[in-house]
């Protein structure tokens, strides 16, 4: 579904992403992990069209999306969430999700009905009329998820959707994400919360200083000494990599 | 075209440009420190000019002398305006504060209309018609005096910001608000001071402009666009930009009038403003962002 080839992004003298390549097969949940500052969000931004790409290519559904405007890529079916949530503050939860739904349905009635369904799917069915500005962080993350889901995407890029959530909230969201995948949506997620990453993803990519330093099934990657060193510093011995 | 006419236009443009620099430096200071676009800048200047007018009419104070009153008075007004109005709303959406300063400018303009009526006022002093000779060129003395005082004040302001303790605090807040707070700077007080200084420059500019220009309640509109153009051309928050921008805008106005006539000549300023915003919004010396 998504193939990133040797993507390179530079900011002046700094190479934020360095010849990164990854593949997201259809219907899978793939995770991108790495220490803070590794360039994960930058990579996301490049893939989704928010930042220009200096070298390399991004193929979505076998066509290149390099250089295409953000909204076009979103309409093709690749939609991202933001690390710092971006709700439509003065609109209600229902209206927020409906904006996404309007990408799928032309008419208000159907869009709102679909938005209602999505809201229930993510567990926000009871707070539809609340203004988005008044939501807790956890709910805002969920709203972000719901809104992108309402566009009926093929590939979801989730950027640290679990940051700031407590363990209960995390396991709730994990279930929601599993549910989304069960409906046929492919997911690429950036995450620091290892509990979620291990539980959800089938394949991991590890990014450090802009380079992909390891990839593979979660169990293998986590034990890889290169990965451990990236997180814990030079000379760290084996063991769980834990949180970044 | 005769070269003397060109040179005369150029120099006259620079002379007026110097005063625009002074006006713009207040605006750019306010933006640089508070990050607000002070739409009331023009009407505050207008009020200042009415002040100078009445100081002359009622108290027979020469406009240049009345700077001693106007500058501190306008500083106080600016400080109070910040504490009482602007300060309460300067957090929050960027557009809100623009609207509030718009509201303020509407109130000021119409108060002026109420109290001073719509006619334009000019002042004449003993030396209004005196000319300064420079070879074949003649320049109006008040214009020359105003230019030099404006440049002096800009230099003094620049020096103050650079060297004084308050100036350093101002620069700190402009650069890094949170950091400044963390090292113990009373950020809100600096905001009030900065706004006060910004308005004080208008007090000075009012004294410098009255002898060579006119005032009416509508003058605010004229100056708002000029001030914004200078600031945008020079770069928001850049002091050097205000100087260069002011001179360029003065030149543009002068040459515009020369080549396009009285009426169409004014278009240069709006054109610069539009072109800068469309093609180089950070201006000549501003930071991209």
């Amino acid at each position: 579904m998504l193939a990133v080839n040797n993507l390179t992004k530079r900011f002046g003298g700094l190479t934020a992403v360095d010849h990164a390549s990854l593949i997201v097969p259809e219907g899978k949940i793939i995770a991108l992990i790495g220490p803070n500052g590794a360039g994960k969000t930058t990579l996301f931004a490049c893939i989704a069209g928010f930042l220009s790409i200096d070298e390399g290519d991004v193929q979505f559904l076998t066509t290149s999306v390099k250089g295409r405007p953000v909204h076009e890529i979103a309409r093709l079916g690749m939609v991202r969430t933001f690390q710092i949530t971006q709700p439509f503050s003065r609109l209600t939860v229902h209206e927020n999700i409906a904006v996404g739904a309007f990408q799928r349905y032309r008419h208000r009635k159907e869009a709102f009905a679909y938005a209602h369904e999505i809201a229930q799917q993510v567990g926000m069915g009871s707070i539809l009329e609340l203004p988005a500005a008044g939501l807790t962080v956890a709910m805002r993350k969920r709203l972000e998820l719901a809104r992108t889901l309402a566009t009926a995407p093929k590939l979801l890029l989730l950027d640290e959707v679990m940051a700031g959530l407590n363990p209960t909230e995390i396991s709730e969201i994990v279930d929601v994400i599993k549910d989304i995948r069960a409906q046929g949506v492919t997911i690429l997620l950036i995450e620091h919360v290892m509990q979620a990453v291990m539980g959800l993803s089938e394949y991991l990519y590890v990014l450090s200083y802009g380079k992909i330093i390891a990839e593979g099934p979660p169990a293998d990657v986590v034990r890889n000494p290169i990965v451990v060193e990236a997180y814990l510093g030079h000379g760290a011995t084996g063991g769980d990599s834990g949180h970044a | 075209m005769d070269s003397t006419i060109l040179i005369s236009a150029a120099l006259n443009g620079l002379l007026v440009g110097g005063i625009y620099t002074l006006v713009a430096s207040g605006l750019t200071l306010i933006y640089g420190v508070l990050h607000i676009i002070n739409f009331a800048h023009g009407s505050l200047l207008m009020m200042g000019m009415f002040g100078v007018y009445y100081l002359l009419i009622k108290l027979r104070l020469d406009p240049y002398i009345s700077m001693l009153i106007m500058v501190p008075a306008m500083y106080a007004i600016g400080y109070v305006l910040y504490k009482g109005l602007i300060g309460r709303f300067s957090s929050g959406k960027d557009e809100n504060i623009l609207l509030i300063t718009l509201g303020l400018s509407i109130v000021l303009e119409n108060l002026a209309l109420m109290f001073f009526k719509g006619d334009t006022r000019t002042i004449t002093v003993g030396y209004s018609d005196t000319m300064v000779e420079l070879g074949p060129l003649l320049f109006s003395l008040p214009k020359v005096i105003s230019f030099f005082i404006a440049m002096l004040l800009c230099a003094l302001l620049g020096l103050y910001i650079k060297k004084s303790n308050t100036g350093k605090a101002i620069r700190a807040v402009a650069k890094e608000r949170m950091g400044a707070r963390l090292v113990g700077i009373d950020v809100d007080r600096i905001f009030a001071i900065s706004y006060g200084i910004g308005v004080a420059t208008l007090g000075a500019a009012a004294c410098l402009l009255m002898p060579i220009f006119y005032v009416s309640p509508y003058t605010g509109h004229v100056f708002v666009l000029v001030a914004f153009t200078v600031v945008v051309l020079g770069g928001m928050g850049s002091f050097l930009g205000a100087v260069v921008g002011g001179l360029i805008v003065g030149l543009t106005e002068s040459f515009g009038g020369l080549f396009l006539g009285e009426s169409l000549g004014q278009i240069g300023i709006s054109l610069i403003f539009i072109l800068i915003l469309l093609f180089r919004p950070q201006g000549l010396f501003g930071a991209r962002g």
Binding site: A48, F50, H71, A74, R75, V79, R80, F82, Q86, F88, S89, R90, L91, E95, A98, V99, G100, F102, Q103, R106, R108, A111, E129, P131, R147, T148, T151 | I37, F89, D94, E95, N96, I100, L102, G103, L104, I106, V107, E109, N110, L111, A112, L113, M114, K117, P217, L225, F228, L260, G261, S263, L264, I267, S270, F273, I274, L277, L278, F279, P281
Partner: protein, 321 residues
């Protein structure tokens, strides 16, 4: 932050329209009819600002630019080329829409938002004012005078009340447009753009093209307002139709009444016309009404950012849980 106010039921719309229709029959004096025309006129041009500024969040400080474009387009055609003045209505819409397209294309391509967009519209208005002041065809600083020949065919209603009903029709259309925006996909996308442009883009909304569309529509309405104004007063000049005052009024009535609401501009307009006419009658002090109005703007932004409509709704309805 408060949510957007709840929509009004159909009966409410019809009631308001009915009241507006019988108004000139209940108050037939020339003073009151003039008040009605003024209030509706402000409501109309206010709505032009509102759909771009309130609904889509594209605040402009120079909205008069569309108004003036329409006024000059229709008046020049009539006075210089002898074209039937009624043609002026569609022509002014096209003129306003074209200016909207031009300003929108340039500004949005350059990525101008928020305060920068507000200011560049001001500069465009000023530019057009200067041009209108300097060229032959617009009559320069002297402006254009439309010869008075009252007849309906000549778009000069012999009975002033004719103007009242015309502007009422125009206001009704503008309100219908606003209602349509509230319910349509386009309107929802504009609201998204207003709240968070980047998030809107990330969901697949073509932000540039939607902003451009609404500015064209807003410009067209503004242009029509200019045409109406010319026919009502029979005289235009660069300061009247490209000057800052109209820009301010268009913005004020919407912000005070309630930006982004259907009836905000109408409420703001009725209030402005009332304050203005009252001030004119009670004292002869020029500028008093705008001092009040400017002060109101500050108070509204500070304490009631959703406008007077919000206040009215809070007082007449129980707060939803």
């Amino acid at each position: 932050m408060r949510r957007t106010p709840e929509p009004i039921a159909w009966t409410g719309h019809v009631l308001i329209l009915a009241v507006a229709c019988i108004f000139p029959f209940v108050f037939p004096s020339p003073f009151m009819v003039n008040f009605g025309v003024l209030a509706l006129f402000y409501a109309f041009i206010g709505q032009s600002w509102n759909i771009a500024g309130g609904f889509a969040g594209q605040l402009s400080f120079g909205h008069v630019v569309f108004f003036g474009a329409g006024a000059y387009a229709s008046t020049i055609l009539q006075v210089r080329f002898g074209v039937n003045p009624w043609i002026g209505l569609p022509v002014s819409a096209v003129a306003g829409g074209l200016v909207g397209w031009l300003i929108g294309y340039l500004s949005f391509r350059a990525g101008l938002r928020g305060s920068y967009f507000a200011l560049i519209t001001l500069a465009f208005a000023e530019m057009l004012r200067i041009i209108a002041n300097s060229v032959e065809i617009t009559g320069g600083g002297l402006g254009l005078l439309i010869p008075a020949k009252p007849s309906v065919a000549n778009f000069q209603f012999p009975e002033r009340v004719g103007f009242y009903f015309l502007i009422l029709v125009l206001v009704t259309v503008s309100i219908a447009i606003a209602i349509w925006l509230k319910h349509s996909r386009f309107g929802a996308q504009l609201a998204a753009i207003r709240e968070n442009e980047d998030a809107a883009r990330a969901l697949g909304i073509n932000v540039f093209s939607e902003k451009l569309k609404i500015l064209i529509l807003s410009g067209a309405l503004g242009g029509i307002g200019g045409c109406f104004f010319s026919q009502y007063f029979l005289y235009i000049d660069p300061i009247i139709v490209f000057g800052v005052d109209k820009s301010v009024e268009m913005l004020l009535v919407s912000m005070i009444g309630g930006a982004g609401t259907v009836y905000g501009p109408l409420i703001g307009a009725v209030l402005l016309a009332a304050i203005s006419d009252t001030a004119r009658v009670v004292t002869n002090i020029q500028g008093l009404s705008l001092v009040i109005y400017g002060g109101l703007l500050i108070l509204i932004i500070a304490f009631l950012p959703n406008g007077l409509i919000d206040l009215i709704q809070r007082l007449t309805k129980r707060r939803p849980k």
